[in-house]
Structures are given as C-alpha cells and as structure tokens.
Amino acid sequence: MESLQKKSNFNMSEWMVKYPQLGTGLLFVVLCIIFIIFSPTNKAGDNVFLTAQNWTSILESTAGFSIGAFAMALVLLTGGIDLSAGAVMAFTGMVVAKLMEHTSLPLPLIIVISLGLGLLSGLFNGFIIVRFKVPPFLATLGTAGILQGLGYMIADGKSVYVTNESFTRIFGFGQFLGVPMLAWWTLLFTIIMYLLISKTKFGRRAQAIGGNEEAAHNSGINVSAMKCAAYGIMGLVSAFVVLTTIGRLGSAVPTQGQGYELQFIVAAVLGGTGFSGQGGNVFSVLLGSLVLGVLLNGMTLVGVNYYLQAVIKGLVIIMAVIVTLQLSRKK
C-alpha cells in the first residue's frame, strides 16, 4: 500500500512540477467537454460550441484578459499587485478615443501617445511604491481613483464613438488569414511576454525580487528600477488592452476597464502565478484566461442565467485554484 501511494504520488507530482500548466490545462479540457456535451446544435447540425464563429468569439473576448494577465503575472512575480490596470484602461482609452475623433493626428501617433500615458501611469505607481514604500495594494488603488477621475473628466462622462474603421478592424473584429486579429495580438504578446519573463535577464531578476527582495538587492539588482519597470509594463500593456476593448465595442465608454484588474489577477493566478514570486509561466497564464473565456462563453451558449453564471464563475475560480495547488504541491 505504501509503495502504491508513493508511486502514484511520485508520477503526478513530478509531472505537475515539470508542467505546472497541467492543472489549468485539465480544467480547460474538462470545461470544453462539458460545453460540447451541453451545447445546442445549429441548423447545419454543427455543435455550436465547436463552430469557428464561436471560437472566434472566445478568442476575441479573451484576448484582452490574456494580454493583461501576462503583465499582471510580471507584477505579481515582483511581489506586487496592480489594482489600477482597469483605471489605466479607462483613462488612456478615453484619450485615444478623443484624439481619434477630435484631432487629425495620425493613428500611430495617437496609439504611441496612449501607450506612453499608460507607461507613465504605471511608472507613477512604481514610483510611489518604491520611493515611499506604500503597499502596492493601496498605492495602485489610489492611482486607480485618480486615473478613473481623469478619464471621466476627459470624456465629461460621455462615451466616445470611434469611427475609424481601420482602428476597429486592427484592434477589434478584423481578421488576418482567417484568424481574428485579436488572436494574433494574443499570440504576439504571448511570445513577447514569454521571452521577457522566462528568457531574459530582466525576467529572471523580476522573479528574484518577488522571491526575496533583500537577496535580490544584495545580488546587485536594482530592485526599485525593476519594480518601476514592472508597473510601467503593466501600465503600457493596460493601455494596449483598452485598444482592443475600444476596437471591439467601436466606442470608448467611461466605465471601460472596470474590474479588468481583477480578471487579470484571476487569470494570472489560475495560471499558477503566486503572490510572492512563484510560477509566472506565460503559457499557463494563457490557459488560465482561456479557462475564464471558455467558461463565460459556454455558460451563455448553454443558456445559464446571468446570476447563476456569477455563482458558477466563483466556484470554478476557487476549484481551479484548489486543483492547481493540490496537484502542483509536492507532498
């Protein structure tokens, strides 16, 4: 009996340590199977859940969360958290929309401006956190209020309709080689962030900071600069994510981005990122946000009541984390 237990334990835990994304992957597969079973079929007799259209929709609605979650994973790796990501989106999104509709600046310039503002917002977070040692939770919550307010002020509380078709195609519903643009963007960011976190010195140092800040400092790492950079990247990425929201909606709403920060965090954690530097595998995080995306899509498809959706989503989040943790935690 003892040896049996040992054997099964060994296999599972070894695997899970090597491939931490397995837990999330498992969940993803299970969800897909459930939804395939319960999905209605369309007139052509296809399983709706499996149609290309539906997966386009899943990929499009998940793109923003994935991209943001990558950056959030980086912030979490440095031992921080960013609750202002959604507000950065609200703010920079309004700037983009206003500039697009009310000026004749070229689109690339507008995008650069807004990404720059996102970067600055993030650096501001980083500055407060490293200079004054304000806990990231509070610092970013404060920044969130500021940026949200600024966003409202810019738009005077109104939504701004975006008519630039090339914009809404590139960042919204356009396709390239039959694949949604947003999927391409996700792919691009997956690669960039994977390289950044797992393959560069920068990523290595970020991980060290989350693991032990003092040790990182004593190893010659400029902890303050690194942290600022992480928050800066988070801000920049948030500013990018809002482009996809605006692109998809064809308009910028003052409340855009609300709650995104939590989605980012949830996806990052479902992808095995811990709150003090553990994990940080970009592919797992991608799986984490796909789990969320498929869940929401599937529930709507199957016709689950919205209120029940909230309940189920809550349950799935908890269970997913439990499964991931239990599997990846060695005895």
Partner: protein, 496 residues
C-alpha cells in the same frame, strides 16, 4: 534511585521521509533526568527533524516515543508543551508584530479571556533578567536585534517549566558573554533534574556543558559517547565518516599592495572606520554582537541605502557607492550573515540562485543563454561539491551547509572577483563544510583575492586571518597582526 540515571525520554526507531528519501532512519535516542545530551551531526543529518518530531511540529513516519516509560503521541506543539517539552527552534520562531512579552507568553497568556498585561509584564521582566536581556518587554519584537531575539527565544523555552528542554543551535547568533550566561543557566537546570537536548556545531562547547553526545549521520544514529571521555577527533570522525586533521589550512600570504582602503566610513551605527587591506589578505573583524561588524561590510558593499559618509578606495581609486551594483562592477562580492533572509531565493532552484548576481556572464544583451548557464552552474556545483537531491530542487530543501556553498558560489563564478566580504560564513554549518569553507578562503587568498571576514568564532578569526581589527560600539578599537593574536587581548579590546 540515582537521579542521573533515571530515564526521562526514549525515542525508538524514529523514521521520517521527505520525498521518499529518509531524513531519519530508525533513529533511537535516550535522555536521562538532569542530563545535557548533545546531538551532533553534519548539516542535514536530521537533528532538527528529530527535534521537531519531539516538539510536535512535524509528524513521524515510524517509531515510538516513550516519556518516563509511557508511550506518548505528540501530535501538536500544544501536546508537546502539555507533556513538558519546550524547544528553542533553530529558525526564528517568534512573531515580529507583537511585543516581547506577548511572544514570551503566546498561547499561555495570563487571564481568562482578557490578557492580564500587568502580570505578563512583571513575569516577562523576570524571565528576561534570567537570560540577562535588558529590554522593555512591551516593545515590539521587530525592534530587537537578531541576538536579542535569540535570547528571547531561549528565555521563552526556559520559562515553560518544562521537564525536557530542546535547544537547537541556541548560541549560533549570540555573544560569548550571553553564551556563558546560558551555560550557567543550563547547569542550574540540570541540577533541578531537567533533561536538556542540545544541538550545536561548535564542538568546543560540548565539554562545557554536555554529559553525553549522540552522533547522527544521514538520518541514522551512529553512536552515543560520553562527553567526558570522547575527544574532538572521535566525534568529528563519526560525524563526517573521515578524519579532519588540521582545522585551519592557512597557507596564504598577503602582498604589500593596498587593495581596499576605507576612510572615515560613518553612519548611524558605525563611526569613522579607517582600514587598509592588502591584496590577497584575509582581514578579520572581531567584536561583540551588535558592535557593527556587519554594518561595516554592508556599508562597504553598498547594501545599505541610508545616509552615509566616508570614502572607499579600491586600487587607489575612489568608488562612488550608491548600490551593490557599483561595488560589484569593481569586483567586490558579499556573503551576508543570514543566508535565508539576505541571500537566497528559497523556492527557486540552485541554478537560479547561483547565477543571479552575474547574469551578464550568461549571454550578451537582454537574453539569457540557458545552455551556457547550465554549463557554468554545473561546473560550479561540481567544484564546490554542492549536494542536493535534484538540480531542479528548490534551494530551501538543501541543508544549511550546502546553501552556504551556493551563496559563496554566486560570487565565485565571477572571474573578476577580487574582494570578498564574508559575514559569518560558518554559522550553522557542520565541521566538514566548515573545513571546506576554510580551505576555500585560503585558496581565494592565495589567488590574490582580498577577504574581509566577520565571524563570531574567535578561533576561526585567529586561524584564518592575517590581521584582525576589533570593532567596539561602531568604532575600531585596535588592529592586531597575526603574530599578536591572542584571545584575551582581543576580548579585552572588544569590551574595553
């Protein structure tokens, strides 16, 4: 019945596995009333694990515990306490966010529902006085130094009125003076019939208090000896399974070339430190706990950010120190005193920790060259003989000695290394690894690297150093040449 022979505790065939490999294998052990029983063994031999099982902190996989002849099961720290077992943990086991008094009486507070603070305060005073700690029991624990914290831990265990007190490396971070006081107390407890299990890597201490010594190796009990008759060599040989003839392999000679010059280094803990250290010299800093030795190293390395003044010159050139980066650039390395808190990313693997400070060695530009990293790391692991279960294993799973090797290796992979600041490199490290570290220091010095060494073991300083500076209350009170080394002279300069 003879008090000294009455059996207090018996551990029979205790086993414990981690990840399938044995940390303890059929370990048996006896403790008599009024006895100080020393437990010794290399890092990772399983001493702490055995004690944690006894303290109810860790479960056992097999074996039996008999207390005064009755079999007992110790499922939790609370049960251990109720059975009269108290422990001073090797790792800090106090809470920084509550006061000293609250820590002393945590989970056994006076009062029914509300804490009786008056009584707690008064009792705390008494307990702290016992170990000679003069601090207000109502200050937060976080405001104490490491040494003071350790004393609080000891005081806490002593105040339990326990039948059995376990001390897992209690003196590793306190001063000689406090150690003397503790030994006096232990002798007092012996007379009261308390059984004490004592763990320490300093074999010199055994004779001062021990009655018997049990040697553990790789989770197995090798032998129990009488301290009175056993020689140091006996013990060491059983511990490491081989003989260590000469403890301090001093062969290096300093050059006459000034490598590191410190002028007027001052901050709020140290005053006007002036040093001139030669290339290839092993230069020691002696002093009592809290004298400021570590602070000097931190300041030279640039690890402290606080307002500072003074000049650090390397090879005659002034170095502008804003952060460790500046000093690392000119070839300095730093091994801090607390490897877990100050050096290691505990849940990351060895390779991660090894390469951390010099990532630029593993590829130009922003990317890391993983195969190059693996190659250099493997080389280093081999040459330093770092032992671990798997290369992927987190560094926290390594024994203390091997962790220390990882920290040292971090600096050695830099071929431009020319000054190494080392703070308490042998704390909590077994004799075998100690010897390896001594050898390494000597080799480095021979290779022309300047070493600034802080250790609280005077014999180490005297055995390894070319010169020793004595630090007293943040100031240098004297510098001795190797031929002037003398224990009493140094101690004299330390205190006054």
């Amino acid at each position: 019945m003879d008090k000294g022979n009455e059996l207090l505790l018996e551990l029979k065939n205790i086993s414990k596995r981690f990840y399938g490999s044995y940390a303890l294998k059929d370990a048996s052990f006896q403790l008599r009333k009024g006895e100080v029983h020393i437990l010794c063994g290399e890092n990772g031999a399983g001493k702490s694990t055995l004690m944690k099982i006894l303290a109810g902190v860790q479960g056992k996989d097999g074996g039996e515990i008999l207390l005064e002849g009755r079999p007992v099961s110790i499922g939790s720290p609370l049960e251990a306490r109720e059975l009269g077992i108290a422990i001073v943990f090797q790792e800090l086991s106090l809470s920084p966010t509550i006061t000293v008094a609250e820590n002393l009486f945590l989970n056994r507070e006076f009062g029914r529902f509300f804490v009786n603070r008056k009584k707690m305060y008064a009792e705390s005073r008494k307990i702290l006085e016992l170990v000679g700690l003069k601090c207000d029991p109502n200050v937060l624990l976080s405001s104490l130094s490491i040494a003071e914290t350790q004393l609080v831990q000891i005081a806490k265990a002593l105040s339990m009125n326990a039948k059995i007190i376990i001390m897992d490396e209690p003196v590793s971070s306190i001063t000689e003076e406090d150690t003397d006081k503790l030994f006096e107390l232990i002798n007092g407890l012996k007379r009261q019939g308390v059984g004490i299990i004592y763990i320490d890597h300093r074999i010199e201490n055994y004779k001062r208090i021990g009655d018997r010594v049990t040697i553990l190796r790789d989770g197995c009990v090798i032998e129990t000896l009488d301290v009175g008759t056993a020689t140091k060599a006996d013990i060491v040989e059983r511990m490491v399974g081989r003989e260590i003839s000469q403890l301090y392999p001093k062969t290096s000679k300093p050059t006459k070339e000034v490598k590191l010059k410190v002028q007027g280094l001052t901050d709020d803990k140290i005053k006007n430190i002036n040093l001139e250290i030669y290339k290839g010299e092993v230069f020691g800093l002696a002093g009592l706990g809290g004298a400021g030795r570590s602070e000097i190293l931190r300041m030279i390395f640039g690890a402290n950010k606080i307002n500072r003044s003074g000049i650090v010159e390397i090879d005659g050139k002034t170095v502008r120190i804003r952060s460790p980066k500046d000093t690392m650039k000119v070839g300095m390395g730093y091994v801090p005193e607390d490897r877990k808190l100050q050096s290691l990313i505990l849940f990351r693997p060895v390779s991660f920790n090894l390469s951390l400070a010099f990532l630029d060695l593993f590829g130009k530009g922003p990317f890391l060259n993983n195969s190059k990293e693996n190659q250099i790391v493997d080389e280093q692991i081999r040459s330093m003989q770092i032992r671990m279960l798997s290369k992927k294993a987190a560094v926290k799973e390594l024994s203390g000695g091997n962790q220390q090797k990882v920290v040292l290796s971090r600096w050695l992979i830099n071929d431009k290394l020319n000054i190494l600041l080392v703070d308490e490199p042998t704390r909590g490290v077994d004799v075998g690894v100690k010897y390896e570290i001594y050898k390494m220091i000597d080799e480095l010095a021979n290779a022309g690297i300047t070493i600034l060494l802080v250790t609280s073991e005077l014999s180490e300083l005297m055995g390894l150093c070319d010169r020793i500076a004595i630090v007293r209350e943040g100031e240098i009170s004297g510098i001795l040449e190797r031929d002037e080394f003398d224990q009493t002279a140094i101690m004299h300069l330390c205190v006054h």
